[in-house]
């Protein structure tokens, strides 16, 4: 667990008051991020996102055929799991990361489960019997704050990169369904990822709020608001966390407006990056060895 002294904390808070953060950003500046897709061969889609070189997350998406959720028999299923690796912090060893994993997975699941983010009906194979299960497995490799946003950007990128094999459903004479999965690796469909939101996290420090907090800033924040924004500028989920006394509703509205503005810029940036990644020749990818 990273620890900071009271004087260091005061320094951070005073800096934020004067609109100058320790890494040179102003209160509403977002850190630069990089996206790489298609790094893990054994997945249907994968992405690695780094925020300012230090927060490092890897997401792998695997699709498998399985039973649909009995409550939604005509839709595909989503399974989200986040795993904080001890390379991000030694306290994540063994069962140490369980609480953190649960919080992060729940946030991501809520963000994606929303019916309009992905066309879940298109992942149904035979209603009530079989569907595609989309496993989104996230690995937090290094942490320098704001895991929420990094994970949401990486998840969107990995789903964008995901290739679902084409299948053919055949009805046998006995009324059973048989599925034939295409052997041709170039025969696949993509998921509709355009309306998947990404999250923007704001932290309240003292009487001000900042966007994209670093790990040190997370230690001084009183409350955290994570807001998911889609490409239309609509709010898809809100989560307030932190230990503070609370946020004034009028101030909260202002935070929402800022999050919306920043979210739209980030989404545009991400779309451009993903398009570039998609057109990139895979042989030029270096991945982790860079």
């Amino acid at each position: 667990m990273i620890k900071i002294s009271p004087s260091e904390k005061q320094f951070l808070i005073d800096g934020i008051k004067q609109n100058m953060r320790t890494d040179g950003r102003s209160r509403l500046d977002y850190r630069a991020f990089t996206v790489e897709t298609g790094l893990v061969a054994q997945t249907n889609g994968s992405a690695r996102v780094k925020l300012a070189n230090n927060t490092d997350v890897l997401v792998g998406v695997k699709v498998e055929i399985g039973d649909p959720d009995p409550d939604f028999p005509d839709q595909g299923r989503l399974e989200v799991r986040v795993e904080c690796s001890p390379s991000a912090s030694p306290e994540f060893e063994g069962r140490g990361a369980e609480e953190m994993n649960a919080i992060l997975s729940a946030m991501l699941r809520n963000m994606l489960q929303n019916a309009r983010t992905v066309d879940w009906a298109s992942l149904c194979i035979s209603p009530g019997k079989q569907c595609w299960i989309v496993y989104v497995d996230c690995l937090v490799l290094d942490s320098a704050g704001n895991l929420f946003d990094a994970l949401s950007i990486a998840t969107k990128s990995a789903l964008f990169n995901t290739k679902v094999p084409k299948i053919e459903v055949m009805e046998t004479s006995s009324g059973q369904t048989e599925i034939e999965v295409s052997d041709d690796p170039s025969d696949f469909t993509r998921l509709s990822t355009a309306s998947i939101p990404i999250s923007v996290t704001l932290a309240k420090v003292g009487s001000r709020y900042i966007v994209d907090p670093t790990i040190e800033e997370e230690l001084c924040m009183e409350s955290r608001v994570t807001i998911a924004i889609n490409s239309k500028g609509n709010i898809c989920s809100i989560q307030k966390g932190g230990v503070s006394s609370g946020i004034n509703p009028s101030e909260f509205n202002k935070m929402l407006q800022h999050a919306r503005k920043i979210g739209l810029v980030l989404l545009k940036e991400l779309d451009a990056l993903l398009d570039k990644e998609e057109n990139n020749d895979t042989s030029t990818k270096i991945g982790f060895a860079r």
Partner: protein, 246 residues
């Protein structure tokens, strides 16, 4: 299904290698900001990460040793690292066994007596598994320890070898590993020429064993040459950076 041909008539393996050839190796040091040392290591399609913390205060009270540092290892495989998705990433029997084996390997190599009452953590994460993850993790951990500047008696390099259809092969990939033949993971200290890990779980004649063992030793030496050459380059760069600063 017809039987897979592991060795072609020309004497080449399923991925086109010759029997004594190890897969392409690449690695990188110092990837992570929070860990004291870290390494990414790839050998063919097997890709692993290792992070090292310490020497630091012992986290589990009572585990501290008055005359040396304790080593703590954790091996885990990402849920997406294998062909079929894994249900859990850590805490299965295989992971625990590998963690213990790797801990014992490094306990004999790290100069633990220099850091009494401390703990050194080695965390390994498999991103992609294509055979030989145990050996890849040992190599990655060895590099991460070097990156962290922890004193060791020697480099530890590891390589597995096996035998299929009477031919000894070094550095088995997943397909060859699943063929059911013997698998012999070996870790050596290349400069001191000592064995620090050796496992074998199959029936072999003494002659065949010697052949496989020789293959594994040769594999380790090839890997050591690659790791050592690149490490010298990396160190050179570091030294040069320092010179420009002064």
């Amino acid at each position: 299904m017809s039987k897979i041909e592991f060795i072609s008539p020309e004497g080449l393996r399923v991925d086109g290698r010759r029997p004594q050839e190890v897969r392409k190796i690449n690695y990188r040091l110092n990837l992570f900001s929070r860990a004291d040392g870290s390494a990414y290591y790839e050998q063919g399609n097997t890709r692993v990460l290792a992070a090292v913390y310490g020497p630091r205060q012992v986290t589990r009270r009572g585990a501290s040793k008055h005359d040396r540092a304790i080593i703590n290892c954790e091996y885990s495989m990402a849920t997406f690292s294998t062909g079929e998705r894994r249900k859990s990433a850590k805490r299965d029997r295989r992971s625990t066994e590998i963690s213990v084996v790797i801990r014992q390997t490094f306990e004999s190599v790290i100069l633990t007596h220099l850091y009494p009452r401390t703990q050194i953590d080695i965390f390994m994460q498999v991103l992609q598994a294509d055979g030989g993850t145990r050996c890849a993790c040992i190599n990655a951990a060895s590099l991460a320890l070097i990156d962290a500047g922890i004193p060791m008696r020697d480099f530890v390099v590891s390589c597995a070898a096996g035998m299929i259809d009477g031919v000894a092969l070094t550095d088995l990939n997943y397909i060859e590993d699943s063929a059911g033949g013997p698998d012999l993971p070996l870790a050596i200290l290349p400069k001191q020429n000592k064995i620090c890990l050796l496992q074998m779980d199959s029936k072999l004649t003494i002659e065949q064993y010697e052949e496989v063992m020789q293959m594994a030793v040769e594999g380790c030496k090839q890997i050591h040459a690659v790791l050592d050459a690149k490490l010298k380059d990396v160190t050179d760069q570091l030294v040069n950076k320092r010179k420009t600063l002064l």
